[in-house]
């Protein structure tokens, strides 16, 4: 991938704290720091993978970026335009450029609407096409995602999970966006279908010059599609690097543990598996210092006291840890 690509999305210091309320008067007793101060960029045509355990804030981060959830703080620039302040018509116009694909293909399609209505409604709302024209566009989109257009008037419940996910993809690309947030789009599908959907996403990326933020908890899936990978832990960004770089030289102990968990098909190559003990700590009371230190196999006394610094291994590979990069 060429390095001199235009910057599409820039996220700066994004935070999302959910208040924890208790008692009769709904007093705020604390915050769940679902997304805590993350910054990154996405270039045109680039796919950024976002990985981490369940509950680490990947989904919240994705949804905050397209403003399905209002962030607590931070700036998001899309094509150098601050989208945090947008309202009304401007916000509606912005939505044309950013779309989302959901994890659960069952709840993400309105069971009361046909495929034509589900995929075509956005076209009508944005005054792109109506009536027969809309029908033709939808039929085209269906072909593009590998569905037969003769199913255009069927309801979602008449489809399988993989087909539904294709409908979800058709809906997301209907407005010809430049960025799509893929919120674990293949986690709910079985393995053979996963590969098909991933390949479809790659084909669409090449064809429509799309950028993806690909949220997943499965590193092997992310490896296949992403150019760059962000590793998140407890709402914080812990490591970011190009895909090859990250897989070759994982620096953060958490990333190393994640990578060691990928099954190795070669029986002679017995890799050393780092097994993390304990659960993800509560994001209401995150551990002091480095949030990963209670589970870290290489922790030092300083880890629980101070926040780790950002260290660079290469220009584009950085991570948050006290450990020196192994060059």
């Amino acid at each position: 991938m060429s390095q001199e690509k235009k910057e599409l999305l820039k996220v700066e210091g994004l935070k999302k704290y959910f208040p924890v309320v208790s008692g009769f008067f709904s007093k705020v007793t604390g915050y769940v720091k679902a997304v805590d101060n993350i910054s990154f960029t996405v270039n045109e045509g680039e796919t950024v993978g976002m990985v981490g355990e369940s509950g680490c804030g990947k989904t919240t981060a994705g949804r905050t970026i397209i403003r399905l959830i209002e962030p607590t703080a931070g700036n998001i620039y899309f094509k150098n335009k601050d989208i945090m302040q947008l309202k009304g018509q401007e916000l509606k116009d912005m939505r044309r450029n950013m779309q989302i694909i959901f994890q659960d293909p069952y709840s993400s399609l309105n069971p009361r609407k046909t495929i034509l209505e589900i995929v075509g409604e956005a076209l009508e709302v944005h005054n792109i096409a109506k009536g027969k024209e809309k029908e033709d566009i939808v039929a085209n989109l269906m072909e593009k995602v590998g569905l037969s257009p003769k199913y255009i008037n069927r309801y979602p419940h008449e489809f399988s999970g993989g087909q539904r996910q294709r409908v979800g993809i058709a809906r997301a690309i209907a407005l010809k966006p430049s960025l799509i947030i893929c919120d674990e789009p293949v986690s709910a599908l079985d393995v053979s279908i996963q590969a098909q959907v991933i390949n479809l996403l790659i084909d669409l990326r090449e064809e429509m010059n799309l950028s993806y933020i690909f949220v997943a908890h499965d590193l092997s899936v992310v490896k296949h599609i992403s150019h760059r990978i962000i590793v998140m832990y407890l709402g914080k960004l812990v490591e970011m690097a190009e895909t090859e770089e990250l897989f070759a030289h994982p620096c953060h102990p958490y990333t190393q543990a994640l990578l060691s968990a990928i099954p190795n098909p070669d029986p002679t190559n017995k890799s050393h598996r780092i097994v993390l003990t304990g659960d993800v700590p509560s994001p209401i009371n995150p551990p002091s210092g480095c949030p990963f230190h209670p589970r870290c196999v290489r922790r030092k006394p300083i880890c629980s006291k101070e926040e780790p610094p950002i260290q660079h291994r290469t220009d584009t590979h950085f991570y948050k840890c006290f450990l020196e990069p192994d060059k």
Binding site: L68, R96, S108, E121, V125, N153, G168, R171
Partner: protein, 400 residues
């Protein structure tokens, strides 16, 4: 290959209907509701003391049509409206045909035009009734008198020659069922069967109008609370809790006692205004559940407006339980009205089933209790049956 390109168009409601048809019991129930509705509309043909046609010494009179809009004969506005619908019914059927087959608009557009036409008919008939200066002419006496004078008289009456307020004083009232009065008469000598027939009109209107009123209030408040949450939800929920604290029936009783000249419309509004809490809670719950679903998030991400999301995305999904509760609501509104009339707090001039039942209780006569009692039971169970069937038919997961 060309055939593959042909799109099969199936509307959502046609799917629901094909599903509904599979439930035979509910189909009979729906048939019964339609029959009841037809009976309500065409009651004047079944029983009225006005002849369709009569001629005295060669002069023919057609008093029927005009008398339908005579306020002195039909004191109740409900009856005037139903008479208007009866007169307009051939046109209504024609309109439906034109809309459906000739113009082939979308179903929602059809429905709007159709309801507009119905409202027009209602307004016209009430205006017509306002302007009549006819007295309460006794055609039967006139014809009998003419016959006694030896004039040549012929007349065609509806099936029964009674009006619901005409008193028959030729026997000791209440009279037991006989050939003259198939279900007997009440304490003042009014024909019970005729009152039952016109009572269908009252019950149907009460059910539909009262439920429409409280559905409207309940859906709007519940949807706002469930969709927006936060402070709006807090205030609406507190309002619901305040209203729900009052026992509905006693609240209606108390309010009804304050109205001096009660009509059935007062009763409808009373039922509508105090019974919306259940629907509001139901809708709120459904909206809370649907709000978090990904398809709503997708709709927001696509830039679809809030109103559109609330009314065209979430509401249809929440409609199943609402519709079921509406049909149950019709049944319970009919019961409430009957109870009010039974306690003498309904519209005293209207021929209501509950009112007949009340007279039966006072007189201790079986025919005065069984007939309206059975009618109430029948209507309530039929609406419940249909409601359940609609719920099953609307659930896409239950479809085969």
């Amino acid at each position: 290959m060309e055939e593959e390109k042909k799109y099969k168009k199936v509307s959502y409601w046609s799917v629901v209907w094909s599903q509904f048809k599979k439930n035979k019991v509910a189909l009979w129930g729906l048939g019964a509701i339609i029959l009841l509705l037809l009976q309500a509309i065409y009651s004047p043909f079944l029983s009225l003391d006005v002849p369709l046609v009569y001629s005295v010494e060669g002069t023919t009179h057609f008093p029927f049509l005009v008398e339908l809009f005579n306020k002195n004969r039909f004191e109740n506005t409900v009856d005037i409206l139903f008479n208007g619908i009866m007169v307009a019914s051939p046109f209504i059927v024609a309109l439906w045909f034109v809309l459906k087959k000739v113009l082939s608009f979308s179903t929602s557009k059809n429905l709007v035009i159709f309801i507009g036409f119905l409202i027009l008919v209602c307004i016209l008939s009430s205006v017509a009734s306002e302007n009549t200066k006819m007295g309460n002419k006794k055609y039967k006496d006139e014809i009998a008198a003419a016959k006694a004078d030896g004039k040549k008289v012929s007349a065609i009456f509806p099936l029964m020659k009674w009006s619901y307020k005409e008193t028959d004083l030729e026997g000791r009232n209440p009279q037991a069922p006989s050939a003259k009065h198939l279900l007997g008469t009440d304490a003042t000598g009014r024909d019970v069967l005729t009152r039952m027939l016109y009572g269908t009109r009252i019950s149907m209107t009460i059910g539909v109008v009262a439920v429409s009123i409280y559905m409207l209030i309940g859906i709007v408040l519940g949807a706002l609370a469930g969709y927006f949450g936060g402070a709006i939800d807090l205030w609406i929920s507190r309002l619901i809790e305040v209203v729900i604290c009052f026992p509905t029936f006693f609240l209606i009783l108390t309010l009804a006692a304050f109205i001096e000249k009660r009509t059935v419309f007062h009763v409808m509004i009373l039922i509508g205004v105090v019974s919306w809490t259940g629907v509001a809670r139901l809708v709120r719950g459904e909206f809370l559940r649907q709000r978090g679903m990904d398809y709503v998030q997708a709709a927001i991400a696509l830039g679809i407006s809030r109103a559109k999301i609330i009314f065209t995305h979430i509401l249809p999904n929440a409609m199943g339980p609402i519709l079921v509760s509406a049909t149950f609501g019709i049944a319970s509104a009919i019961l409430t009205e009957s109870s009010l009339s039974f306690l003498g707090l309904g519209d005293t001039t209207a021929p209501s089933w509950g009112g007949i039942l009340n007279v039966g209780r006072q007189q201790g006569k079986l025919w005065l209790i069984l007939a309206p009692g059975f009618a109430i039971f029948f209507v309530v169970s039929v609406f419940n049956l249909v409601g359940e069937a609609i719920r099953d038919a609307m659930d896409p997961r239950l479809r085969q």
